[in-house]
Assembly symmetry: D2
Homo-oligomer: 310 residues x 4
């Protein structure tokens, strides 16, 4: 019964927002991202029953950037379980994603796994003694498995561009190193970090990869357990409180769904029990979140009544 409605809702939202395609500023902090055509907009919604609804550029790969942090976190929790939280907190930071201030005040322990410093620690954990090359391979394998799609690739030009311009992340890495917070060399951790941020995926692929978070930790299509239900809930909780940087509170207020954004213009959102959603449009707002993407999710949550808050 939901199927026709959902198709209609997504199509309506796309049509309503289409005139605004191109709004916002494309991320320019690395050259490769700055070259992306801003006039792109895609939506993909996948339900636990396997229904897939898409609109616009839903099959065009884009740089997932920080959205990868959700999957890295999943991997790292799989690696060392709840002991991860001795190395990174799970509180909103109240600061910009690349801020170093709090890190100094809190002895190099990042506030949560979704700010850059936290994701660097999570990457360090996920490496678990592997070489950077092996670690990157494993992450890519995990993404392909989750998305059920062997065609996912790392955009090497983006990875190289990040490596060449990632001075701020170098600073974060070295700063944590000075507090003995990293097991591996800064260069190696950042190498892996920049590569998983440079994975290119489409809305359809990302929604598919995130479906387990909407389905109690299981891949409902293939019937595999990815994580335990409690872990899926907890990752969703982290996405809701920390997933959109220092606009997380606003996103919770307006949309009411766990989400994770990336400066490539994608946002992965989870409606527990209902659907995994991915929207993408490169133009960003002042917080580094996709402007059209946020609008689309707000409209979708309103029309479907999927907000987790009633």
């Amino acid at each position: 019964m939901a199927a026709p409605d959902l198709g209609r809702i997504v199509a309506d939202i796309y049509a309503e927002l289409a005139p605004r395609i191109g709004e916002g500023e494309v991320a320019d902090y690395i050259p490769e991202l700055a070259q992306v055509n801003p006039r792109q907009f895609g939506i993909a919604v996948i339900t636990p029953e396997g229904e897939v609804v898409t609109a616009g550029d839903a099959d065009r790969p884009f740089s997932i950037q920080s959205i990868s942090k959700v999957f890295l976190l999943t991997l790292a929790l799989g690696r060392i379980g709840e002991s991860l939280w001795t190395r990174v907190g799970r509180e909103p930071s109240g600061s910009a994603f690349n801020s170093i201030v709090q890190l100094e005040q809190e002895a190099g322990r990042p506030r949560n796994p979704f700010i850059n410093a936290g994701a660097i620690v999570v990457t360090d954990v996920a490496m678990a003694g592997h070489s950077p090359r092996e670690a990157i391979g494993e992450i890519l394998t995990f993404m392909r498995y989750l998305a059920d799609d062997e065609d996912i690739l790392i955009d090497q030009a983006v990875a190289a561009s990040e490596l060449a311009t990632g001075a701020r992340n170098q600073a974060l890495g070295w700063f944590m190193r000075s507090f003995d917070r990293l097991d591996h060399d800064v260069d190696k951790v950042l190498g892996v970090y920049f590569h998983h941020c440079a994975i290119a995926m489409s809305c359809r692929q990302l929604a598919r990869a995130g479906l387990f978070l909407a389905a109690g930790g299981r891949d409902p299509v293939r019937g595999h357990a990815v994580v335990r239900p409690a872990r899926a809930r907890r990752i969703n909780a982290l996405m809701l409180t920390c997933g959109l940087y220092d606009a997380s509170g606003d996103f919770a207020y307006r949309v009411g769904l766990p989400g994770k954004s990336g400066v490539g213009g994608g946002i992965l959102a989870v409606a527990p029990g209902r659907a995994a959603i991915c929207v993408w449009s490169p133009g960003l707002d002042g917080f580094g979140n996709s402007r059209l993407g946020g609008q689309a999710l707000e409209a979708l949550a309103r029309r479907t009544g999927w907000s987790v808050f009633g």
Copy 2:
């Protein structure tokens, strides 16, 4: 069908935690609160269908303290609607509830309505030109209406004690005043603020008063609309991201429900569509949240499956 289960679950949780009654530190920052007997523990759960389940000291009034901020916010939104957000943000602060640092960096605009500075602004809005006496009367009337109980009172000894010892809140008030962020005199706003924090209610009364947040903005018992559904959702969202100070992320992770704590040892939690819950035990953890209360809510969310995150 849920009824017997819920009664069993609450009874079990109470029984399991009873041996730990007295854990934690009673708030000592005002003399009146410091005198409270720490060996108290109550739980009340109320469903939209009107079912009420209680355990322990669920009918003993305690100082609601910061839990009042949820109701003040409801009043202030009723007064001036979404324009409230020009005066206060809706982001987690990443700082302690009484921090003034961020306030200086952000020109006197508090991060959210649940830190002290934000609640002082919300109080200023809720006063709306009334005298302090009238404003306090109106707030009390609102609480009695929501709880459907005329016996709710302000503990004047607590209010006087807060007034006498509230230097930090005075500092916050004057600081915002220096940025022209308050319409009323600092003394008057704080007078109202200290009084609504000093309202005494039981778990049963608080759960009843918060029931509209679990029921789409309606009082499902009397059939009144308190706020529109979207507003109830949004207040829940704010509770989830900001309701337990700088342990909000952890509470979302462990419990997965919107909540608001007070240093009196109470926590009001909302399971949208399912129940309003109030737990109370005076012993606090290091973040100023009830230690046993948090444990009880974690157990309750786990056994009922009420987490909003799946």
Copy 3:
């Protein structure tokens, strides 16, 4: 021999800077100060030998504002000696004069006696159990004694204006109160504070009052010891490192003399063994220091070779 040179130097500096009278912004944070005619400029230099050289509006009283902090510090050190430093630090703050951030990070203990928070603590010490009225009287008596002039008055309109608009100082006072850093009521301490800031003195009077700092702690004219030589040295040291707020380093670099500025546009400077100097012009630079006053002192130090740095 120095006499004719000094007269010439001061006259030259006045003549060179006269075309720029009116530059800068008059302090507008209290109404009374905002009304001051910006087109005023005075210089007074007094040597230990009793030579007095003046130029321009050197005999017109102006609001000494923060310059009073030097004399309050002298009083407070006389009251409780070096134990004062348990209550206030003696390091540059690296922050604006009215910042509250550091105060939170350092448990309410101000960095030095010349930022507002520090001067409020110093005022609290100088009160020493007196009523505000008595304390204000004593401070005024001290200023008249030092300046050897009974005609010095407090500008009551300025004091009242500060009291009415001093929300930021109220915040600082209450904040320190919350850390138990004040012996007296916030209102009383601020009453005294605002009154001593509102003392009106001329360049001639201020230079005369500060002469003991240039003369090893003695009033060389009357032959009285005001403070021990070591104390005079130390007050000079504090003026040099902290006297011009967060432009103290720049002032030391350009001028090379201990100094203390006020938002009324005055700057008192000390050339140890050589002279006490007061310049005044109401137009301020971005740090709240007299623009023309700073220029005049830089020129004076260069032409006299009075820099303490060689």
Copy 4:
């Protein structure tokens, strides 16, 4: 006439402090420094007339560490003059020497040339397009010239040790790089930085090298001008306001002389017109300054009356 007094004073101070040799904590942040024997103490005083007075271990080379920043600043000012101040400030930071907080708040521009971040920028300027090897050679040549001693060397073990453990400085470098504040590669700048910090000199050599700062910018022994008098004054001013990290205010208060400390336990002080002084003892106080060294300078300034403050 001063000569015999000075000899007596230095001998007395040494004798009085000798029983306390070994107090304080030897810097342990790099392994090579941690191995230094703490039971060493030297004093050297050199006057513009060429008189040299020493006591204790005045001829034993130690790691000059941050004292090198004074000489790097001299070089960089010689390179690009006052335009240096567009790249680094000249205000006390109010923060620890290795803090990164202020750097974030001020867009990567360090507060002054004596905190680590500032010294890294100054090193970048001093390199001026040279290879690291050439730059290091030039600095060493400059130190040998100033000290009039060809035997000064870089302790390669210390330099290597700093390079291996300098994560915090790496973070500072990369952080500034992210704001485009460095002309050269972070690795190269830090290579030079670590090498000039690893220069080994004795008290006698350092006092000799700093003599120009006490003599109006001239080497009074050979009669060479090193810098203009105004520049010597200004470097002295910077040393006084910023030379002992966040204990600079205290040092000015107690000693009253421009100074620059290093974590190797040395302090270079300047009494303009009177003498250059170097003290050394490896045990540090909580701010990273030589404990015995500070005591010795306080006693010396008191007995000679050399304080710049009268």
